[in-house]
Subunit: 180 residues, 2 copies
DNA sequence: TAGATTGTTAATCGATTAACAATC
DNA sequence: TAGATTGTTAATCGATTAACAATC
């Protein structure tokens, strides 16, 4: 058993917040005693859709793309990297540590049955927007953009129903004004 | 000149929001005509501290670290990658496309004069928390964590004054519950 | 003057926090 | 019963949106 107080202390939020959030799952706790951990975990897994690995496609088989897609450390923890895509036929067709490297033209067909949960963009900046549009059209559920360019809200396909994480760009906003 | 209406249309927000936000800079606009672009830009640059490049240090000179730190595309756009750090003496001492590869023990001393704006963690997961603590102690202003591990709010040094971007982990939260 | 657009005040909305009756 | 802790309702807070007088 665990109390909302304990969960809050561990997570760095208030017990009120924990109870409020958990109440969305229904009445999971027992008054006077707290929450049964196994039952709570099962309910969270079911609610958040963590019962399966999130599928990942990496587009851009350059150094960054291969580093993210190809190495074991970055293939752990709830994510299943399914394929690496590139536009250059010289790079495609083979595989990298068991990860197939496919031509970017095959992305849509590969997505037809089951869209990717996460599309990672590791192309040069001038190709990023085009790739993002392609992913949106193919039903990719989230886009993580590592190309040093802001995709923003313009483009052929409006980015809706898809969260675009503008990596470095967004980070800059977190910084306080320069003291220099 | 540009109006709040036009800025809002481009940025995808309402004109009210634009005016509200810009009012923090003081009275920059002219009623009836809008905002003078050069004056507005200057005020934004001054306020957001964009007058200089944000300095970046990458810790972990593995494939990912070298891809992010060493290649031109990822060194553009307002960021100046200053150094790559690693714990393995066999990897340190040299340079990668002009970027010095230094031993991680030198990080604190290198930060003493001018702390890094952004510290990028590209180590294996079991070293990430230790590196984050080191960065916080050294005054690093923001941390971008690429190690597939959640740094969270625990650790030797509480993470204060520093935004930790939990890469893949945070992204998962953006996804809606699985439909599978 | 008349049309346009700002800057600010008021209203709305949602999320967080506080409080507490319910109840284990 | 008495202490503990939930689940929910009310209060607070901040941010977004609406409205409009000021004024270019």
């Amino acid at each position: 058993m665990i109390s909302s107080e304990t969960i809050g202390a561990v997570a760095g939020v208030t017990s009120d917040q924990v109870r409020k959030d958990l109440s969305h799952l229904g009445s999971m706790g027992k008054r006077g005693t707290g929450y049964a951990v196994p039952r709570l975990r099962d309910a969270l897994v079911a609610s958040l859709g963590l019962g399966r690995l999130l599928t990942v496609a990496v587009v851009g088989a350059g150094n960054l793309g291969m580093a993210i897609g190809g190495f074991p450390d970055y293939r752990a923890g709830g994510f299943a990297v399914k394929a690496l895509y590139d536009v250059n036929p010289n790079r495609t067709g083979g595989s990298l540590s068991g990860l197939p490297i496919r031509h970017v033209d095959e992305f849509a067909a590969d997505s037809a049955q089951a869209p990717y949960d996460i599309g990672v963009i590791t192309t040069p900046p001038d190709a990023a927007r085009e790739v993002a549009d392609m992913m949106v059209k193919a039903g990719t559920r989230a886009i993580l953009n590592f190309a040093p360019v802001t995709l923003g809200c313009q483009g052929e396909v409006p980015v809706r129903n898809v969260r675009v994480v503008e990596e470095m760009q967004i980070l800059a906003h977190y910084l306080e004004p320069s003291d220099a």
